[in-house]
Amino acid sequence: MKKLLVANRAEIARRVFRTAAAMGIKTVAVYSDPDSGAPHVREADEAVRLPGATSAETYLSIPKIIEAALATNADAVHPGYGFLSENADFATACADAGLTFVGPPVEAIRTMGSKIAAKEMMARAGVPVLPGGVVNDGYRPEPSDYPVLVKAAFGGGGRGMRIVHSLNDLDDAVAAAGREAQAAFGDGTVFVERYLQDPRHIEVQIFGDTNGRVLHLFERECSIQRRYQKVIEEAPSPAVNDELRAELCAAAVSAGEALGYVGAGTVEFVLDPAGRFYFLEVNTRLQVEHPVTELVTGLDLVELQLRVAAGEPLTISPTLDGHAIEARLYAEDPTADFAPMSGRIDRFEIPSSDGVRIDSGYETGSTVSTFYDAMIAKVIAYGPTRERAAQRLASALDAAELHGPPTNRDLLVGVLRHPEFLAGFTDTGFLARHSPAELIGPDHDPLSAVAAALASQAHRRLTAPVQRHIPSGWRNVSTGPRQVAYIEGEQIIEVSYVLTRSGIAIQIGGEPIADARLEHADATSVVLSVGGMSRRYGVHLVADACYVDGPVISTRLVPIDRLPEPGSTAAAGSLLAPLPGSVIRVLVAANDAVVAGQTIAILEAMKMEHPIVSPVTGLISELLITVGQQMDTGQPLAIIEETTDG
């Protein structure tokens, strides 16, 4: 293997390049138009543009990727995870083009790509499975099987999954899941199986070589999930003792052997509270969460993949040492049902610390686009014990400066410091039991806006073209306080301040802050003492926002123009897009009467359908959208004139 093309983007592309470079293998990146400036493009020896923006046009386009590999004389292709990583046609196309596909044999992908076929094979191999089948093939769950889970047969990541509690809802759920699966994976086949309430998600990393040897690299637990997507993963699992580990790993190895598995794979199980485990699926790729296994085994899984792909036998005998936890940092709003967020990252800094590894696809200045998954980075901490790993990870995340679209950082920290998590009581119901609000804790610190105002003030003074050293806002006859306002989330916060020789007077929303003292203010930090308690705020000012990292929260404040141009503010009654996405359905027409809660339109973002409902009862006075239109956050969709009763 001399030159490796990575058919992927962001952190996983960078991860593969890192090992390839260390092994002396040349690297080729591919990139879509929105990714043209992305770090992964720079880090490869060569980069090939895939014209277009959507996944279908770019990272999912088999002909374009094969063409890129051939054009650069690559001899191998690593698919990463997601995209084409579990696409048998792609593996076939690589083989046909004379390229080594870094992954399992096509047949294994094909069999495991169908969750239905996979289950049947595993049952034959003696691996425990849950009862289920394909509805369209005539399978009907027994009444005692409810609730059941409807799942896409091809694909993963929880897309298209639905829980059905009774027979009446089954057909609707199957139809909806089918639609979503069709859109996401190009195949609408769905199946049902018995649904386990809040099991643990345990998976075993396996590796096979071309000599027929299949071995395991122990288990990972990935129970902390939202919307069926893993958020926090760890190795080893706090719920697995040596005896259970031996059983799980043996079952996984049998599964691998039954498949004739070659390369990196993951056998996923659900574990019920009684300690019984059932086969879920085999992922025939490198997993997002592979770093936790790397940290507890000391192995480089990408290196093993490349060696196996080159035909080398596996000679390792893995041992387990310490504990590792990974947190997936997403650009999303946990308080808005984890809606994905997009936008420019004005600063991305996670201070390096002992035992902390950062696998990131983004950096300061990157833009999280609406076209791809909104995971910004994986932060992984290692420690001799689970407590230590959790503490290191929480501290690293807490200290990060994440200035850009909202992220799930506070939620991750909240989980990592939660007594239930620390006690090892992790199951897939964790994030349903503990609301984002509970985990995130305080979501507001009124002094953040004050810090933003005072840092901005200091910045203006330090960069003033004239009278730079004159005291800030000096007056010989007072004209009232300096008044500024910010938008924080959906709130408007007004701050006023006066600096005089006797100190500072601050008001927030017209309420004076008693006993306030300004100990320090420059453009990047403010130290404010209130009631004798001193607090430090880090402030990052960018063109259109102030990011404040304070002792209570980190937040983004958008300054409100003191002298706005007329017409630049949204008209009263505007219904604004809550997230970026495309309009897939419009359910009303201009001049329609609507009631509060009525769905006006459906936005699709990241393959999820988001209904946009009218907040009021009224009349659609203007409809500003058409089907297919791409919307940005805050863009008006419609103007609704509220009607009053009577």
Binding site: A464, G473, S478, Q483
Partner: protein
């Protein structure tokens, strides 16, 4: 000193209250901003606003502040003179003090080359006082257009009435912005037009913003409301492509090593007690560094070089009040040196006058005093004067008093300005009266003389007070001594909008 500052502050409070609760509320109810709120939004956030003559009309029949607010503010990085009518005080009408204050602001704009932004909302002249204002008020329009002729931009933001003569403010300015449904700019309103020609017309068609923006063209920008008007005003200034002509300050500025609070104790409230001006200078200048010139010669005046807010300055400060021959010659040389190097001069006055007496007259004190007055009068570097104590007699002239046109002149609350001290003046009058009585052989009425002396002392005492002088717009405002460095910094920065080129021709005369 703190008592005097508090007294001053209480008078400022009167000025700031504008037309009082009732008119302020009415103004707000019309959806309008108060004058200082307008200024607050007009100037760059967190920059200083140095209000000028805030106590104009003190001890007059008119409201303190003279129904107008003037000052130096920074708009989009450019130092401007802002002249804003106070519409809550008798509709912003102009009385003789309004006129003086307005003209002084225009003078400051002219001598310092500062763009002028007028915030217009005035009912016009205060008609009962028209005799004192009608003729000189013409100067306002003349000054405006002469500023423009000198390349100094003039802008009118019309918030309300600008009628009759007032209509020439937007008329004479380079730029005019008018606010929809608020601006009323016409020579004659509906009643006057009806009386003059019989024509029926309404405010809007005679002088509304829409009419002037679309038909007459007097308005260059149509503002939908006050905030929009202020935004447009800032936009105009931002596009002036304005550059200062004078020296730029040093980048690094050190604060003085000594606390400005101490100035409260250093300055004498009893002006008979002199104080060392070096104690003051140490609290005004960068790093408290002062390179004294001729420290052992003419020791009753202190001269030397320093920096204030990064600007190189020469400082002249009275030490023992009296100016003798050596002091006069030292000051004259120093002023010439400052002109050689185009260095602005700061005059710190605490002067009781040139020395009198046979010895001094015979030694030519008049000639030496004349040298100093000559040097001050013909010096062309920026002068900024602070009266920090006494300002008596020709010492006021030699130390660049008001009539010597310093770019700015500020007064400490303890200051006294007069031809001489009250006791001396009363005493002189008494001696003259006694001589007149003796000459005519009349008996001198000692009792009446004592009464008369008391009355005159009281009158002169009152009329030489800082508040009285500031009320007459004989200074640009009373300042808290602790603010002196800040005020000088602003004044120097504003003054360097114009070139600070010194006057040369002869070499420096060694005297």
């Amino acid at each position: 000193m703190l008592e005097l500052i508090a007294e001053h502050e209480s008078q400022i409070e009167r000025a700031r209250a504008g037309g009082g609760e009732r008119y302020t509320t009415r103004h707000r109810e019309r959806g309008k901003l108060l004058v200082r709120e307008r200024i607050e939004l007009l100037v760059d956030l967190d920059t200083a606003f140095l209000e000028l003559s805030p106590l104009a009309a003190w001890d007059s029949p008119f409201q303190v502040g003279a129904s107008i607010v003037t000052g130096v503010g920074v708009i989009c990085g450019a130092e401007c003179v802002i002249i804003a009518h106070e519409p809550t005080v008798r509709g912003g009408t102009m009385n003789p003090f309004t006129l003086r204050k307005n003209l002084r602001a225009l003078e400051i704009a002219r001598v310092n080359r500062l763009p002028v932004v007028n915030l217009v909302e005035s009912g016009g002249g205060d008609l009962p006082t028209q005799a004192d204002i009608f003729v000189p008020a013409g100067n306002i329009f003349r000054e405006l257009t002469q500023l423009s002729a000198a390349g100094i931009p003039t802008i009118a933001l019309v918030f309300g009435n600008a009628t009759a003569g007032g209509a020439y403010v937007p008329g004479m300015c380079d730029y005019a912005v008018m606010i929809d449904q608020q601006a009323k700019v016409f020579l004659g309103g509906p009643p006057l037009v009806k009386m003059a020609t019989g024509e029926e017309a309404d405010d809007e068609s005679l002088g509304g913003a829409a009419m002037h923006s679309r038909i007459s063209g007097l308005s260059d920008y149509f503002a939908v409301d006050e905030v929009d008007c202020l935004r447009l005003g800032r936009q105009i200034v931002a596009n002036l492509n304005w550059h200062k002509e004078g020296p730029t300050p040093r980048h690094l500025v050190e604060e003085p090593l000594y606390d400005a609070e101490d100035l409260l104790g250093i300055a004498s409230v009893d002006l008979r007690i002199p104080f060392d001006p070096r104690e003051v200078i140490a609290r005004l200048v960068d790093g408290s560094r002062f390179d004294e010139y001729k420290p052992q010669y003419g020791t009753s005046i202190v001269t030397g070089w320093a920096q204030i807010h990064g600007y190189a300055v020469g400082v002249l400060a009275n030490a023992q009040g009296v100016l003798f021959m050596d002091e006069s010659k030292k000051a004259t040389e120093f002023i010439q040196l400052a002109n050689q190097s185009s260095t602005p001069l700061i005059f710190l006055q605490n002067v009781t006058g040139f020395m009198v007496g046979k010895e001094y007259e015979q030694a030519g004190i008049i000639k030496d005093g004349a040298k100093m007055i000559n040097a001050v009068a013909n010096s062309s570097v920026p002068h900024i004067t602070v009266i920090m104590g006494a300002s008596y007699g020709a010492g006021n002239y030699g130390m660049c008093g008001r009539s010597y046109e310093p770019r700015f002149l500020f007064t400490w609350p303890n200051a006294r300005v007069a031809v001489m001290g009250p006791q001396q003046l009363a005493g002189v009058l008494s001696i003259v009266a006694r001589q007149a009585a003796e000459a005519s052989g009349r008996e001198f009425d000692e009792e009446a003389d004592a009464r008369q002396r008391g009355t005159i002392e009281e009158q002169i005492g009152r009329e030489s007070r800082a508040l009285f002088m500031t009320g007459r717009v004989y200074d640009d405002g009373i300042i808290d001594p602790r603010d002196t460095r800040t005020v000088l910094g602003i004044a120097l920065s504003a003054a360097t909008s114009k070139t600070a080129e010194g006057r040369r021709g002869f070499g420096v005369f060694r005297m």
